[in-house]
């Protein structure tokens, strides 16, 4: 048996069971799933959240996947996902079926949720919301976040904290 051939253990159904209702975030770039758990505050979600890391993917080679039971992500929440996983797909599941499926879209502006990594930014020293302008040079996997206030520019790996 070659490494390309799938064993029964490789089949998705053995690893992650289907959910009755909720959201499946698929095609997440490897290593980004935990950031999405953070940004969507899924650790405190009341129902089951299943996280799969390093799944084989025909498009990405490897990918992460998140299944959130009993919660449908809003378009605004889906766009938050796009900051860290711009290629991901959102599947809304109702009664075990995909009721809606769409690609996430990188927002132009991100309000409130990201804590500015610059400790001397006014947003970290006053009770107020942060605001970032999002840009990329054609490659959506390398986005830049420019703080509206301190004007510093950050990439994914600079972002450490989030607010709900």
């Amino acid at each position: 048996m070659t490494s390309e051939q799938k064993t029964p253990e490789d089949l998705r159904a053995f690893k992650v069971y289907a959910i009755k209702a909720g959201t499946v975030i698929d095609h997440i770039q490897v290593g980004r799933a935990m950031k999405i758990i953070d940004i969507l505050k899924l650790a405190s979600h009341k129902s089951t959240v299943t996280v799969g890391l390093n799944f084989p993917s025909s498009n990405l080679g490897r990918k992460d996947i998140i299944k959130v039971e009993n919660r449908e992500l809003s378009p605004e929440e889906a766009n938050r996902v796009a900051i860290f996983a711009p290629n991901s797909t959102i599947n809304i599941i109702r009664n075990f079926k995909v009721a809606d499926k769409f690609k996430v879209k990188i927002p132009e502006i991100i309000n409130k949720i990201i804590v500015c990594p610059n400790p001397t930014c006014i947003t970290n020293n006053e009770t107020m919301s942060s605001c970032f302008h999002v840009s990329h040079n054609g490659d959506i996997n390398i986005i830049k976040l420019r703080c509206k206030y301190c004007e510093k520019i950050f990439i994914h790996d600079d972002i450490r904290e989030y607010k709900s």
């Binding site: 132009e108 610059n118 001397t120 930014c121 006014i122 947003t123 020293n125 006053e126 009770t127 107020m128 703080c147 509206k148 206030y149 301190c150 004007e151 510093k152 520019i153």
Partner: protein, 340 residues
Amino acid sequence: MSDLSTEEIKILEGLSKEEILAKLKSEAEEQHKSRKTFFGRDIISIHELSREGILHILKHSKGMKETPQPDLLQGYVMGSCFFEPSTRTRLSFETAMSRLGGKIIGFAEAGVTSAKKKETLYDSMKIIGQYVDVIAMRHPMEGAAQRAAEATDKPILNGGDGSNQHPTQTLLDLFTIQECQGKLDNLNIAMIGDLKYGRTVHSLAQALTNFNATLSFVAPESLQMPNYICDDLDKHGVKYTLYEKIADVVSSADILYMTRIQEERFPDKMEYEKIKNTYVLDSKMLISAKPNMRIMHPLPRVNEIATDVDHTPHAYYFEQAHNGLYVRQALLGLVLGKLT
């Protein structure tokens, strides 16, 4: 949509709704940047000013220098809100207002304000905005001027927010370059010293993207111009070269823009000791300089320009500091609607 030409409508028909909105937004931003009416406008960041806007401010700065207007702002009050110490910026803002006939209230350090009682900047500026017509401010936190602008509808003139922006310094630098060279376009400008942390050189380099400058950055490797500024210059097609010695740029430069290298920027003190005298300019180094070359410095200087340079025709840093007065007068007149 009735104002659009047939050709414009055809272009828009080929775009998605999102693309049309993005196009309209981008056009609106360009119009905002290039508008010459500064009445009621905040001056927070040099990024918000277009070439036309900058030239408009410089034209009025020249007017202020040539023709004093002692009654222009009679009846107006400026809030001078300096949450951290400043000498030239605060005094030149206050002198500018005073010489235009206006009055000043304010403070020169945060310790005498309600900030000491943990009042937020937002609340402080909202209240001060109710007393005055315009606010000049400096604050140690980056983004403070933007936050203040959200708290009050009175114009905010940013006199420095942490290591972020100091747009009036950049405008006075541009005014000085224009004054001593007779033009702003197509000049060779060398920036020397601490280019990594110096906000004046960052803003000046970015402002010069509007004027087809050729830039030279002279600094030790650890204090060279940050990548994000170089990326911005690349995006605008600005030519720049990195150097390690002042001697490499003296003969070609129209402007030598000196900055101070601060010892505290070096985690390794041995490294500071090695380079501390490398970026010092003295009169002997100016032999090959072009006659029109002028030396600028945002001041204060420590030892990076020897005092024997002061007496050469190339020294222009004291005139530069003087020009801050006229640029700030022009800005006060513009944002208060007394200059158009």
